[in-house]
């Protein structure tokens, strides 16, 4: 757009000139058009203001400057005007105070004065009739004409004047001596000054009125004019001021309402309103000015003769008298164009867009006729000579008029008209150019066309930025819309044309659909690249010998074209378009543009950038399966990569191009194939590094190979042979000639299993379906691969075949085993190329799983393979390896519950359900359920109850031996639980291995299969014990030696054993094992026991609930009578079950012993003990004596009171109540003679003994102990059985 004169394309607004505010130079905004044209008077305000020295002395500078900047702030220098709704705005220029506007040429005088046919007419200096004008003699309209009206000739002039004040500096009339202090003179001076000012204004007004220019004056009041405090004599200010202002206005002859304004001093902000109001009130005058101009031009146009009148050569009548110095003065048609253009311009100035369009249109139609070889408007006239100055000018004018029409149509919201103007312009000049021989074959044509679209796009873009919206098709179109007719809100297509055509109903003329600027930028770019192509062709042509120079464009055009960087321009245009589409969120369109940009870079030889673009866009096309596009991109990329020497990429592109997704001929594919082979095997590229490695991810590109992987089974066991198949299928058309890979590598997640299959260079023909055995590989150390499983197989791939590689692995440990990647590769001296199939990502596939069955027959020839169907669908790239499930059963038989302390037999049966004979071992452990106790547990397990050494609560690695398949082995273990009757758990582990593959390493290790089983065992105690110990009477035992310090006491121990076991128990022995005493002087002996007495205690059988009592008479010898607690010993029972557990048949289980601790003997600590000796076998009527023996354990004597209660059973002799003294450490015997009266169980006469102290109340009852009897409690007393008299 910059290549056109700005005057022709900028929007016009009325021009206002302001006087008295200085020039725009002060604001440094834009060059003042009047600059230099008018001499500044030396004393002008502007001059003084510019002087920095006097700047401080000028108080009104800031307001005037502020006013000027406000006025010029809205200067519209844009292509797009303020819009229809914008408030009245002027283009404001500031001119000097004494600025003289250019004189009017005489023809512009009012018609009444002008029409003097004989008078020589002066013309405007830029008229074609004026020699020296740029358009003399036959030009149309020079830009300077527009500029004149845009910037020089105002429609409204506003003068800013200051009211004189004596205190203000006197720039205007310095010569006059003014003494501010002179009284009386000030008033008269005011008047004088005001008169001068009024005359000046009047002069100005008149001179402008003559030209039809509206003049307004603005009086700027100063603070001094108003502020009373400044000067006492100004007290009448208001009134005087009004008078002065009215005077000035009157004298200058200005209209009070629209031509005379007063601006009081004020803050900056208030000027804004003033400026707005000023412009608003003068706006209509401005428009009137242009209206008048328009009318005048219209009149002139109407006086033109018809161009078809045949006198086109003759100048128009008003000009006819003027002797023509030009051989070809401007024809009538030219004048029509001029007038039409002027009319349009003035209409635009007054913002009458519709009229402007009309006139521009008319001018346009006339102007395009000039290009025709034979004018249709002016008969006989020939077109402008091609490439002449006028021709170029006219063409530029036509372009700009067209642009104006487009723009103004956008202005009035008529987008389709704008578009149709563009189409019209393009098609018209297409025809014109073609007929003139500068058409579609020349770069000039395309350059021009590209420019038209670009400018249009620019305008459209500016319009959109300024608020224009590409109309919503839904709202404009389809007056016959039916419900099924639907349009989106898309701003892409506009159907505004529809309304213009009544027939359309629901139809569209696609050429009339205005789209967003992106499209037009695209077209511009497209044509620009065509322009480049044409130019390159031309250059090529020019280099040839003997060409016809006449058809070449002028040399300067060629030179200019030479200097243009076409590609950069094209890319710029594409980029503009790209950005437009990007904002429209049409991602695919941007890809298309990116591909165009890339192509342009490619053309320009910027391969690296181009390649970057190609790579970026290729992804989407690949993903969305647009193969044709992708193929083209790949081919271009290939070109770039080759140019750049990035051979890795070349290989990659070639591999992808092999895919038969691209519909290319077989011949082309063979070319690609051989190119690839050449690069890999033959080409010796310089500066290649030692080995170029490329990994091409085949999942990311269109691959000519597909790879499918299957593990045969869903799961496998450690050590089991696990089969997998990898099927490679080539496409029906690719590779066009057999392709032989060097290696096939299988990568597992456990690199131990990685396979490396090498080509065996077998030249046999491949069949459509081939099964290849890859089992039984050998582990080898391959360079670059490490230790790997290797085998040589056939890796020759023809088109349309499937090769299935079957291999096997043996998992070492449990877990997921995954085949992660498969790579087919070439390995040459220079290259290592891998076609990498990544299997980690799940690939969607829904077909049934298939397994190819192939077998090698005896001659190592593969028989015809067939597919079988496996369970499931899709692929299976991983397999779960687990420990093999034990196929072994452990059964346990025992007769619960177990008794504590017994050898509890458990019969284990191990059943082998495996196919093979197995070698089996057993681990067993017994654990009490309370874990805290487990360490102290005395439980144990044993295989042999007869040996009890080295037993513990577990058994390890017990060899059960070899169990034949399907058979079982019985093993008996014995469990012995002690103490706690909590339930126990028996943990059993049986591990085994097939007899023909017994691992060399012990369990647990690979190869052993283990089986675990737990059993719970309940324990109960077989016996309950209770003990009773009583002291025997002292007198009964004789003292060993009276002098001995030893004391001997006798105790009677009664052990009561209750059988709680539910089963019968055979007791073989009961024994009391005395414990050794802590003190050597203390001895305990068993005097006698009931067991010893009972000689026939051999193998008693106790049943549940049976109670057996064992008595022991114990003799305690001790020195220290104060020793109180004496250990006795352990009661041990030897026993076993009466009936052996059914699981044990012929094994004799030995007796076990249950041990219980006899409670400690607690000796009494009484001061005095009393014993009674009850004679055996009393009879009725037979006297007997009860002897009470009282022992005083203290060293002091004690007094004992005795009182005997009588009862009916006995009569007794002696004191009923008595007392005696027992000496310290002495004894006393007290006898009671009793005569039994009645037989049977009788209570003895109760003897109450009391120890009496010195004081009343110091009594203590003495307990009487009768050996063999229970201790007496409360009122009870000893009961004896009295035999009745025999005689009775």
């Amino acid at each position: 757009m910059d290549s056109y004169p700005p005057e022709f394309i900028l929007h016009h607004v009325p021009l206002m000139a302001v006087i008295g505010l200085g020039t725009a130079r002060d604001l440094a905004e834009q060059p003042t058009p009047t600059n230099g044209s008018v001499q500044n008077s030396p004393g002008s305000k502007a001059q003084s203001r510019r002087s920095s020295l006097s700047a401080a002395s000028i108080p009104r500078q800031p307001p005037s400057k502020a006013l000027l900047s406000l006025l010029t702030a809205k200067n519209q220098v844009g292509i797009w005007g303020p819009g229809r709704n914008a408030i009245a705005g002027f283009h404001v220029v500031a001119v000097e105070k004494n600025h003289q506007f250019p004189p009017r040429k005489p023809t512009m005088r009012p018609p009444a004065q002008t029409h003097h046919p004989n008078m020589p007419v002066a013309h405007s200096p830029i008229s074609p009739l004026t020699s020296g004008s740029p358009v003399h003699p036959d030009g149309l309209i020079p830009p300077i004409w527009v500029k004149k009206h845009r910037e020089v000739l105002p429609s409204v002039v506003v003068g800013f004047y200051e009211l004189w004040h004596h205190s203000s500096p006197e720039p205007i009339n310095e010569k006059e001596e003014i003494s501010p202090t002179q009284e009386g003179t000030i008033e008269s001076m005011d008047k004088e000054k005001d008169y001068i000012l009024a005359m000046e204004i009047n002069e100005r007004r008149k001179s402008l009125l003559e030209r039809g220019i509206k003049f307004s004056a603005v009086m700027l009041l100063k603070t001094q004019n108003i502020d009373k405090t400044m000067d006492e004599r100004m007290f009448l200010k208001d009134q005087a001021m009004d008078e002065r202002l009215a005077y000035i206005r009157r004298v200058s002859g200005l209209d009070a309402r629209h031509a005379f304004f007063v601006l009081p001093p004020s803050q900056h902000g208030d000027f804004q309103d003033f400026v707005t109001n000023l412009q608003k009130s003068l706006y209509e005058y401005g428009l009137n000015y242009y209206r008048e101009h328009g009318k005048r031009v219209k009149r002139k146009r109407s006086r033109l003769p018809s161009p078809s009148g045949g006198n086109y050569m003759r100048p128009p009548p008003p000009l006819s008298e003027k002797p023509s110095t030009s051989p070809q003065p401007l024809g009538v048609q030219g004048w029509m164009i001029r007038y039409d253009y002027k009319l349009a311009t003035f209409a635009e100035f007054r913002q009458d867009m519709e009229a402007a369009i009309r006139y521009y249109d008319s001018a346009y139609n006339l102007i395009i006729d000039l290009f025709a070889p034979q004018s249709s408007i002016t008969p006989g006239a020939t077109g402008l000579p091609i490439r002449s100055k006028r021709w170029i000018e006219a063409r530029m004018l036509a372009d700009t008029i067209s642009l104006k029409i487009c723009k103004l149509n956008l202005y009035i919201d008529s987008p389709s008209a704008a578009l149709s103007q563009l189409n019209k312009h393009v098609s018209t000049f297409k025809d014109i150019s073609n007929t003139l021989g500068i058409g579609e074959d020349t770069f000039e044509y395309w350059a021009w066309l590209s420019k038209q679209y670009r400018v249009f796009a620019d305008v459209l873009e500016i319009a959109i930025r300024s608020g224009f919206t590409i109309p919503d098709p839904e709202k404009i179109s389809h007056n016959t819309t039916t419900s099924d007719f639907r349009f989106s809100m898309s701003s892409m297509s506009s159907m505004s044309t529809i309304s213009n055509n009544p027939n359309t109903g629901s139809g569209i003329n696609p050429t009339m659909v205005l789209q967003h600027p992106g499209f037009y930028y695209y077209i511009a770019a497209k044509y620009n690249s065509l322009r480049r192509k044409k130019f390159l062709n031309l250059e090529k042509y020019m280099k040839k010998e003997g060409i016809d120079k006449s058809i070449l464009p002028p040399q300067d055009t060629l030179d200019a074209e030479q200097s243009i960087d076409h590609s950069t321009l094209t890319i710029e245009l594409y980029t503009k378009s790209y950005e437009q589409f990007k904002t429209q969120k049409t991602g695919r369109m941007t890809l298309y543009l990116a591909s165009e940009i890339a192509n342009t870079y490619l053309d320009a030889g910027k391969y690296e950038t181009a390649l970057k673009f190609f790579e970026r866009i290729a992804k989407t096309y690949r993903k969305e399966h647009w193969h044709t596009i992708l193929e083209s991109i790949l081919r271009w990329s290939l070109v770039c990569a080759k140019e750049l020497g990035t051979w890795e990429k070349v290989v990659e592109y070639l591999v992808e191009l092999l895919s038969d997704q691209f519909s290319i001929s077989n011949q082309q594919r063979i070319e690609i194939h051989s190119e690839l082979m050449d690069i890999l095997f033959k080409m010796n590229i310089d500066n290649l590094p030692e080995l170029r490695q490329i990994v091409i991810d085949m999942d990311e590109i269109n691959s000519f190979l597909t790879c499918r992987v299957q593990f045969k089974d869903d799961a496998t066991f450690i050590g089991a042979e696990t089969f997998f198949q990898i099927a490679f299928s080539t496409q029906a058309e690719s590779p066009p000639i057999p392709l032989r890979f060097t290696f096939l590598r299988l990568s597992f997640n456990d690199s131990y299993f990685n396979h490396f299959l090498r080509d065996n260079n077998n030249e046999k023909d491949s069949t459509k379906l081939e099964w290849i055995d890859c089992k039984n590989c050998l582990q080898e150390d391959i360079e670059g691969e490490g230790l790997i499983w290797v085998k040589d197989v056939d890796l020759n791939f023809n088109k349309g075949i499937t090769k299935v590689f079957e291999g096997s692995i043996e998992p070492k440990e449990s877990g997921d085993l995954q085949l992660q990647a498969v790579s087919l590769g070439f390995l040459t001296d220079r290259w290592k190329v891998e076609l990498h199939f990544n299997l980690k990502n799940t690939r969607e596939e829904h077909s049934k799983r298939k397994w190819l069955i192939g077998n090698n027959d005896s001659k190592d020839q593969v028989t015809k393979p067939t597919y079988t169907v496996l369970n499931g669908t899709g692929e299976r790239t991983s397999i779960k390896a687990t420990q093999k499930l034990a196929r072994l059963d452990i059964q346990a038989k025992h007769s619960a519950p177990a008794l504590l302390d017994e050898y509890y037999p458990i019969e284990l049966t191990v059943v082998n359900s495996e196919q093979d004979d197995v070698k089996t071992f057993l681990n067993a452990e017994i654990v009490t359920d309370v874990p805290s106790n487990s360490e102290n547990s005395e439980d144990f397990i044993t295989l042999d109850p007869t040996t009890t050494t080295n037993v513990s609560n577990n058994l390890r690695d017990i060899d059960i031996g070899i169990i034949p398949s399907g058979e079982s082995v019985v093993k008996i273990i014995y469990v012995l639980g002690k103490k706690s009757n909590l339930p126990r758990t028996l943990h059993l582990t049986v591990y085994y291995a097939s007899t023909n593959s017994v691992p060399s390493t012990p369990f647990p290790s690979r190869g052993w299969i283990e089986k675990k089983e737990d059993f719970r065992i309940h324990f109960i105690t077989p016996f309950n014990f209770s003990f009773n110990i009583s002291q025997q009477s002292e007198s009964i035992c004789k003292r060993k030696s009276e002098n001995s310090m030893e004391r001997v006491e006798r105790y009677f121990l009664v052990a009561k054993i209750t059988t709680t076991s539910p089963c019968e128990i055979l007791v073989t022995d009961i024994d009391l094992n005395l414990l050794g005493q802590a003190n050597a002087q203390t001895r305990m002996e068993i005097t006698t026991s009931s067991i010893e007495i009972d000689d026939d205690f051999q193998g008693q059988v106790w049943k549940q609930g049976n109670i057996y009592i064992v008595n022991y008479l114990l003799e305690l010898t001790l020195m220290d009578i104060k020793k109180l607690d004496i250990d006795i010993g352990l009661l041990v029972i030897q026993w076993k079950r009466n009936q052996q557990s059914s699981v044990v048949k012929d094994i004799k289980i030995p007796c076990t012993e249950s041990t219980v601790v006899v409670p400690q003997l607690i000796r009494k600590k009484a001061e005095i003990s009393a014993f009674i000796r009850i004679p055996p076998n009393p009879k009725v009527g037979q006297l007997f004596t009860l002897v009470y023996k009282i022992i005083n354990w203290t060293s002091s004597e004690k007094k004992i009171h005795v009182n005997i209660e009588v009862n009916d059973s006995f009569v007794f002799s002696g004191y009923k109540q008595t007392h005696f003294i027992v000496s310290g450490m002495g004894e006393h015997c007290f006898k009671v003679n009793c005569f039994p009266l009645i037989g049977g169980k009788m209570k003895l006469p109760k003897v109450n003994m009391e120890k009496r102290g010195e004081f009343e109340g110091d009594e203590e009852t003495i307990n009487i102990i009768a050996p063999g009897y229970k201790e007496v409690i409360e009122d009870d007393y000893f009961v004896i059985f009295v035999k009745p008299k025999v005689e009775i």
Partner: protein
Amino acid sequence: MNLTNSHPDLKFHYIAHTSCDFIDERAIVSGSEPADTYLGLLYTMEDLAVYGYVTNTKVKFVVVLSIPDAVIKNTDIKNLFKKIHNVYINQVCNPFYNLDGKKSIVSKKFIESIDAIGSMSSDEVVSP
């Protein structure tokens, strides 16, 4: 299906691809309404006008016309699309045609039918 020789195939592939954008956009706008499948003019580029049509199963048809400088009736284009749709339905009804396959249609009959539509005169198009 390229029925003219004015542009290389590649151009039409690009146009078909880019028109997906416009179809998507319109499909979003039309939203849930059980609307007509004809999408109208998608865009014009250079001298080509691109029209779109979407079946209920979201199969997209794109017709590219070289622009005549005249009004193109929507009913004409709609009929054209209906014919194409019918041909496509016939193709899909073929039990041997893999609908989910990502390959382009190779049926000879389909191509012939589309060719026939392309070579129809506008009058034939109007009367389906």
